[in-house]
Symmetry: D2
Subunit: 488 residues, 4 copies
C-alpha cells in the first residue's frame, strides 16, 4: 500500500508533486519522499517519516529544483514503520544515476538478493524490495551501455529483462539522470498506474506528462487522462517532452488487484476504466441480494455504513432493500497519541478512539452494519459491541467483500493466515466470533462481477479471497516464509 | 468558534483532556491550550499554535500534572491567527490564582477595558476578551474575600456580578487554585456547555466530573450525561469531588445559537436536548418541500451533498423528493501548504484543493447540490463551476440555512456585511452571482422548526439570519465598530 | 548565578538585549528569557530552556516588539533544571502589569510565602523566589495607588517597603506597563548591577539607558558607564527617557560577593570599581607568596592554570615565582551529550570530557596547578590524577581562593556543607583527599586585600570562606533548612 | 578544513565517534556526518547541517548501529555552506557498498569528472570532490573484482591506482561493506592522519583501532598512538580486527601543511611527531627576535595575544623580550545571530561581537598585539582600531606566520589573491592598510625552522607563503580557475 507519482513538466514540479502526494496520502502515511532532477542531471532527494504535511519544510522544497520529478507515500509493513532508511525513493549512482519509486511487492527477493551480490557485487543496504528493483534496473541498463548515448530502445530492452528477472507486482517510476522519466507496470498490471497529459503551454510549447497511482491526481491538476499504463508496458518521457511507449513483456494479461476497488483506492478514482465509486455501488447492489437471501424478512430497521469506505455500498444496500439509511457512527478525523506517563499503565488502543456511536440512532433498533471487508475481525467485533452498547436490539453485519482467507503478497499489508478471522472458520463460526446476530459476506463471484461489469476486463487478482495467485509463482513455501519473517 | 473542556477527576486528567480536545478539534484549529492543577494549587499550563496533535510533546504532557484541569481549541479571528499570546487559557495570580477558558464573544469589551484599568489597575496584555473575562471574574472574587476560606456561595455571588457586568455569549470553565473547577454559561445559554459524571471508582470512591462544549466528549470517555449547564447557571466542583450548582442570573432564557445545528457542532452531539444529526435530517425534510415548491418538477436527476456537514440534510432531501442520492464530490482529507518559491507567483487558494468532482457522476445530469449554508458565496460559486466543468447539464443549489444577512457577534467568525453574498441582494440576484440555474434557501421559520421540533425550547439565536440579537445590547454602532476593527 | 539586563532605548531593543544576554551567558545556561514592552503597555514575553542561541527563533524575536525591555539567563539550582516554569521573567497583571527579573537569592522565602497567601491572596505557582519578589513589589505598588497616575516617588516608596520585607540578595530589573523601567539592588549590593547611558541620538534626541549585571555589556554596545547602581538604590527610567534615582534603604552598606571576583564574573568586567582581571592578577601575586612559604624551594618546574578562569592568577604566580608558565591542559569548547542506548551502561561523566592534558608538557615535571577555587574537590582530584597519568613527577595544587567551608546563600549554587571537601578537614587532610603532593590555599585576608586593594570598599561578602553572613539574618536553622530542601 | 575519524571497535562505536567529532569540531562547523556498518554489511548514515551537538538526536544515534564506523565535520567552502547534499560521508552501492569521508582538496577534479562520466557512466550528483573520490575508489575496486572475496592486496592495488589518478591532498577513511575500514593519505601527507590502538579487552579479546585527523582524539578515548599514517600508505582493518598496512605510492615524501601548526590544529595535538603547542611556542621565540630587530627598543609596554590560537606564541614573545604579558582582549564564547527584522537595516558583522577589549589594560600603553597570521587583514584592522579606542598609545602588530600571498589549494579555505592584504603590497604598505604603528611578520625560514626543529622532517607545504606547491601539479591556469569559480 503505497502511492506514487511522476511528472515531466515545463517548469518546477516540486509543488505539483507535493499536491499530488497529498491526494495519494490515503495509500500510505508512514513516510514520504520526493526526488527531482535538474536538466544538468543533478538529483535532489528529500525523504522523511510521517505524512506529506509534516515531511516538507520550506527549505526542503526550495532545494527540490527541476522540471522532472517523482514522489512516494509509504505504508510501512510490520516492523519497519520506524525505519527511515526504507523510505523511498532509492538512488543508485551507476549507471547514469537512477532514482526510483515503486508500489507493489516482489516475491522472489531471496533469489534476486543472491544474484545481485554474487553477480554484480551490488550492495543492498536495506531489506526493501525497492532497493532491489532499482539495482536490477541499474544492472540491466549497465549491460545496455554501448555508445555515448542512451536511447529509448535500450531502456525498453532493459525493462524487458527486468520483467524476466523479477516476480510479483510493481508499478514503477524512475528518473534517469540526463535522460528522462521512465514508468512501467508488471505484466499483470496488478497495481495501478495511469498516464496523463497537459496541453502544450509551457516555455517551449511542449506537452507535460504525469504518471500516478490514481486518476484523481490527474483531474485535480488539470491533466487529461491518456490511458492506464498497460500491463508490461514501459513509457519513457525524454527531457525534450517526447513520450516513447513500448510493450516490454511477453504475455501481458491485465489482472488488477480487487482490493483497490474494495477498500484501498479513493472512490473518485477511475482505474483500468472502472470507476471505483460505481464499483462500490454495484458491490452494494449485489450484497443487498445476498443479505435478502440470508436474513429473515423484516429483521432490519436501519442500514448503517462503517465510515468512510463502505458508504457507497451501504447506500445502495439500503436503497435496494428499501430500508432507511442512517449514519449512526461518526468517524473522528483528528487522531492523536497516547502518552506514556511514568507509573501509568498503557491504555489499550480501541476503535472507540476512531469511531463514535450516536445512541439516538441505535436505541431499540435492529441495525444492519455494512463494512467494506473483514480481515482480523477485531475491529468488527468492537464495532458490533459499540452498537449493542448504544442500544441496538440486534446487529446484522455484512461485508462488501468475501471472506479474506489467504495472504496478500502483491502489496497490500495483511496479517498471516492464523490471524485472519475467516481462516479455518465457517461463516456461522465467524459470526459467533464477531458477536453479531447475522453475518453476511459478498459472494466471490458477485465481487468479481461488481468490479468487472460493463468492462472488457477478463481477469482480476482475487488471491486473498480465493487463493489463486495470478503470477503463478507463489508457492506454499514462499507463503510460509513471508508469514515467518513477519512474525519475527 | 472554540471548544472547551474541564475535568475534575480522581487521577491524572492530562491524557483525557487531550483526547477530549481531539474530539472538539472541529471547533478550532489555530491554537490549543491545557491547564491542570495539582492539589497543592500549583498550575501547569501549556499552549501552542496549531492542532492538538502538533501542540503537545511527551515532555509537555508529563509536566501537566494534576487531577483537575481544562482545555481549549481555538479558531482565531481575522488578523490574530498567528498571535500566540491570544491562545487560551489565561491566568491571573490574584486573587487565589485563576486559569480560565471561554467559548463565545463579549460585546461590551470597550467599556470593560476602561473599567478594569481605571477601577482595578489591572493590566490587559492582549485584546482577547478572555483575558478580560478572567480579570472581571478575578476582580469580583477579590471583593468577596473575607475570611480564610472561599466557599461556593462566594463563588456564585462573584459569578452573579460577572453576569451583571458582562454582555455577550460565554460558556466558561475556570480553575481556582486550591479550591476547584468552576463552569458557567451566559444567561441566554448562547454557546453550549454540558455536564457529565462518571461513577465513583477512583482512589477514594468519589465521582468524576466533566464539562464540555459537546456531548460526544462525554460519551467517548465513558461519562454519563447529567444535563446541559443551564443558561446563567454556575457549577462549582470542589477538590473533594462535590458538585455545587446555582442559578446566578436574574432572568435566564435559553436561546442557543442556531449555527451550532446548521454547521458548527458534530452530528453525533446532543445539545440542549436536541440531536444535531436529527436536526440536520429535519432541515433536509423541510428544505425538500421548499425545493419542490420553487423548482420545476423533473428538473433534477440527482441530489449531492457538499461534504461533510450537509450530508444528513442532502440524504433527507433525496429521500423526500424520491430522487437518487449520489456523492459526486470527494473531500480531500489531507491538506497541505503552498510553498513560496523565489521568483514564482503565489497560487490562488482554491476550493479544488479541498474537493474533487467525479466527472462520471456529473456527466449529462441535472444536479441538485445541497450545502449547509452560504456565507460569502465564493466557495459556492467555485463548486457550481466545478459541477459544470465536470459535465453537469444544470446545477440547482440549495442551502439548508436561510440567507446569511447580518453579522454574528456571539462567537462564530463571519465576515462584515459587505462581504456576505446575501447582503442587499434578492435570491435571484444571488443565484446570478453564484452562477447556478436555480437557488433555494431554507425558510427562516423552517430552520427554527427543524431545530426546535419536539423540544420545549422557546427561543433561538438566529441573529445572522434575522438581525435580532437575543442579548438586546447589540447596537448598530457596535456592529459598525466590529466590522471596522476587522478591516484594519 | 544568573545574568540580567534591562534597556530603555529609542528604538527596538530585542536584538540588543539578545546580544547582551550572549555576553552574560557565562552566568547561566539553563534557561533564557526576554520581555519587551510597547508604548501602549503591551508586554511580549518569551522564555525557553537552554542557551540564548537555542532559545530564540526569528518569529520569537519578531514578536518581541518595543523600545524598553529586559532579559535573563538562568543557572538552575539543583532539581529545578528542567522546570521551564521557573524560567524568568515573571509577570503579574495587577497592579499595572509588571515583569521582573532577578539575580540573587531571598533568604526569608518561607515567611514571605505565608504573608502573601494570607494577606494578599496572591497565588504563587512555583517555588521561585523571583515570583515572590514580583508579587511583593506588586503588593507594595498596589498600596501606593491613589490618583490616576504613578509617579517616581510612589515607585521609590514601594521599593523602600520591599527592602523592609525582603531579606537576602537581589539585583532586580522590572518593567511597569505604561510607566517605565525600574532597577534596584539590595541594601548590601551583594549582586552586581551597573548603569550605562548612550548619548542622545534616537528619534527624539533622548538618551538611552541600560542596566546590567556586568560592565562588558555596556562596553560592547557602545554605552558609557554611569556608575554601579548603589546598594539599596532604585533607578526608574520613565518612558520619556528620564532617569530618576533614589536611595531607598535605611542603612545601605556595600558588601559585594567575593565569588564574582574569584570565579563568576568575566575578567573584562569592572564591578564596584574593581577590574575583575586585575583582581585576579592580584590574587596570583598574593598566592605566589603563600606558595613560596609552604612549598620547598625548587620543588616546582612549571606553573599551569586550569583553564579558563584561573589563567590570570596562574600567570602572576609564575611571574612572581620566576617559574616557567605553560598551558598543559586544553579545554574542550564543544560539549555534547551522552546518549542512552538500550542495553548499554550509562557512562560516568568525567572531567576528561572537558579537559585534555598534553603529555609532552607533563612528562617528568614537577607541576604546580592553579585553580580559582576548590568546592567539592571531585574535579580537582580528577585533574590531579590526569596530571599524574600524563607523566607528572609531582603535583602541587594551589587555590586562588581560601577553603570553601560554608554554604553560599546569596545566589551562588553550592552544595551542602557535607559535600564540601574542606568541611571539617584540615589542609593536610584535604591534600590527602585530593591526592596531591602539596596543597596551598589563598589566605582569607589575602583574598580580601586582593579584591579591595586600591578601592574605598570597606566590606565584602566572604561568607562561604568565613561563615559571616553580611545581611545578619542567616541563622543556623535556615542553613539546615536550605541544605535539607536541596537534598530532597 | 575538515576533521575525520574512523573506528574499528569491539562494540558499538556511535558514541565514541560522536565524542571524537566534538573534539574535532574546531576543524569544521558547517555540517556533520557519521556512518556505521553492522557486521551484516548494512550501513547506517546520518548527516545534518550544523555542529555535532545539533546534528544528532537520540533516535539518530540509536539507528547508528555497528562496531565499525567513521565521522566527519565540515567547514564549507564559499557558496556551499547551505548545501546539505555536500555533507559527508558519501556512499556508493557498487561495488560492495562504500562510504567515505575525506579531508583535503583534489586539484584535478575537472579531468576526473570527465573520465568518470565517459568511462564509467557514474553519476555525480554534487560538485563535491569527495563524491569524486569515492567513485574513483569504487571504480578501481570494481576492476579488482575477481573471485568471491576481497583481500587486502586487492584493496591496496586499488589505492595505488587512486594515487595515480588523483592529484591534491586527501586524508581519507572509508568503510567497505562486509570487509572493513580503509584509511589512506596522499603521497605527500599534506593533511594529517594518525593511527591509534586500544589493547584487547573487547568481547573477543581483539584490539580496537582508530584513525583520526588529530592525536587528541586518541588520548581522550584511551587509545595509544601507533604512528601517523605515512604519506601514500594505506591501512586496512578487516572485520576480525586485524590491521593490514602497505605503502601504495611510488615516491612518497612527507610535506605536511604548515597551516595546521600555525592556526588550524588544536595545540594539544601532536602531528607528524611535532607538538603543535611547542611549535607555536617556538614560533613565538623566533618572532621575538624579528620584533626586536624591527622595532625601536622600549617602544612596547605590554604584549597581548589575540585569543585563542596566538596565546602560546605571544607568551613566548613576552618572555623572550622580557615585557609584561597581559590579556587585554576577551573572546566571547557564545555566538548568536543577527535577526532580520522587517523595516530594519542589517547590521554589519563586526569583530566586536567576538572580542571585547578591556580599557584598563590598554589605557596609555604601547601595546604589541600578536596574531597567528594575517589573511584578508579586515579583522586585524578592526582589532587595531579597538586597541586604539580602548586607549592604546601605540599599536605594534606581529604575525606568527609570514605574509599570506598565494592561494591555498590543499584544503584550507582562503580567499582569492586579490583579497589577501599582503598580495602585491610591501610590509610598510600593509602596515598602512592595517593602521598600526609597526608591523612585524615572521620570516619564512623562521616559520619553517619553528615547525621542523628537532624532527627529521625534510619538507613542508608552505605554498600560501612561498607559492611553491608540493604536488607539482598546480598551474597558474588552475589557480585562476579556482579563484574564478569562487567568485561566481
Amino acid at each position: 500500500m503505497c502511492g506514487i507519482v511522476g511528472m515531466a513538466g515545463q517548469g518546477p514540479v516540486n509543488q505539483e508533486i507535493y499536491d499530488a502526494l497529498l491526494l495519494l496520502q490515503h495509500r500510505g502515511q508512514d513516510s514520504t519522499g520526493m526526488a527531482t532532477a535538474e536538466s544538468s542531471g543533478v538529483f535532489h532527494i528529500h525523504k522523511a517519516r510521517g505524512q506529506v504535511r509534516e515531511a516538507f519544510r520550506t527549505r526542503d522544497m526550495r532545494a527540490l529544483l527541476g522540471d522532472i520529478g517523482l514522489g512516494h507515500v509509504r505504508y510501512a509493513t510490520k516492523g519497519t514503520a520506524s525505519n527511515e532508511e526504507e523510505a523511498q525513493p532509492f538512488y543508485v549512482n551507476a549507471p547514469y544515476g537512477i532514482v526510483l519509486v515503486h508500489n507493489g511487492n516482489l516475491t522472489n527477493t531471496r533469489e534476486l538478493t543472491r544474484e545481485l551480490f554474487s553477480k554484480d557485487r551490488r550492495h543492498l543496504n536495506t531489506s526493501s524490495d525497492t532497493e532491489l528493483l532499482v539495482n536490477i534496473l541499474g544492472s540491466e541498463l549497465q549491460s545496455e551501455i554501448s555508445g555515448p548515448d542512451l536511447d529509448p530502445a535500450q531502456v525498453f530492452r532493459a525493462v524487458a529483462r527486468v520483467h524476466e528477472r523479477v516476480e510479483g507486482s510493481y508499478a514503477t517510476i524512475a528518473l534517469i539522470a540526463g535522460y528522462g522519466l521512465l514508468a512501467f507496470r508488471d505484466p499483470f498490471g496488478i497495481r495501478p498506474l495511469i498516464l496523463g497529459k497537459r496541453p502544450a503551454g509551457g516555455r517551449d510549447g511542449r506537452e507535460e506528462w504525469v504518471v500516478a497511482s490514481e486518476s484523481l491526481v490527474l483531474e485535480n491538476a488539470g491533466f487529461e487522462v491518456v490511458r492506464d499504463v498497460e500491463p508490461g508496458e514501459a513509457v519513457f518521457i525524454t527531457l525534450d517532452g517526447t513520450l516513447h511507449a513500448q510493450q516490454c513483456a511477453r504475455n501481458p494479461t491485465l489482472a488488477p488487484c480487487s482490493f483497490e476497488y474494495v477498500y484501498l483506492a479513493r472512490p473518485d478514482s477511475v482505474m483500468n476504466g472502472i470507476s471505483v465509486y460505481e464499483a462500490r455501488l454495484r458491490m452494494g447492489e449485489r450484497l443487498a441480494d445476498t443479505i435478502a437471501k440470508y436474513t429473515p424478512h423484516g429483521s432490519i430497521d436501519v442500514v448503517m455504513p462503517i465510515p468512510d469506505s463502505s458508504r457507497p455500498a451501504a447506500m445502495q444496500v439500503a436503497r435496494k432493500l428499501g430500508i432507511e439509511y442512517r449514519e449512526g457512527f461518526y468517524k473522528n478525523r483528528y487522531v492523536g497519541r497516547t502518552f506514556i506517563m511514568p507509573g501509568q499503565a498503557i491504555r489499550k488502543k480501541s476503535v472507540r478512539q476512531k469511531l463514535n456511536a450516536m445512541s439516538t440512532e441505535f436505541q431499540g433498533k435492529n441495525v444492519l452494519l455494512i463494512d467494506d471487508s473483514i480481515v482480523r475481525g477485531t475491529t468488527s467485533r468492537e464495532i458490533i459491541q459499540m452498537a449493542r452498547d448504544a442500544g441496538a436490539k440486534s446487529v446484522t453485519f455484512a461485508s462488501a467483500a468475501p471472506p479474506v482467507r489467504y495472504p496478500h503478497v502483491y502489496g497490500i499489508n495483511m496479517p498471516s493466515r492464523q490471524e485472519l478471522v475467516a481462516h479455518g472458520r465457517t461463516i456461522p463460526q465467524i459470526a459467533e466470533e464477531l458477536g453479531c446476530d447475522y453475518l453476511v459476506y459478498q459472494e466471490v463471484e458477485d465481487l468479481k462481477a461488481a468490479i468487472m461489469e460493463g468492462t472488457d476486463l477478463v481477469d482480476l487478482d482475487m488471491s486473498c479471497f480465493d487463493g489463486r495467485y495470478v503470477t503463478g509463482t507463489v508457492s506454499e513455501e514462499y507463503l510460509a516464509w513471508v508469514e515467518g519473517s513477519q512474525e519475527s
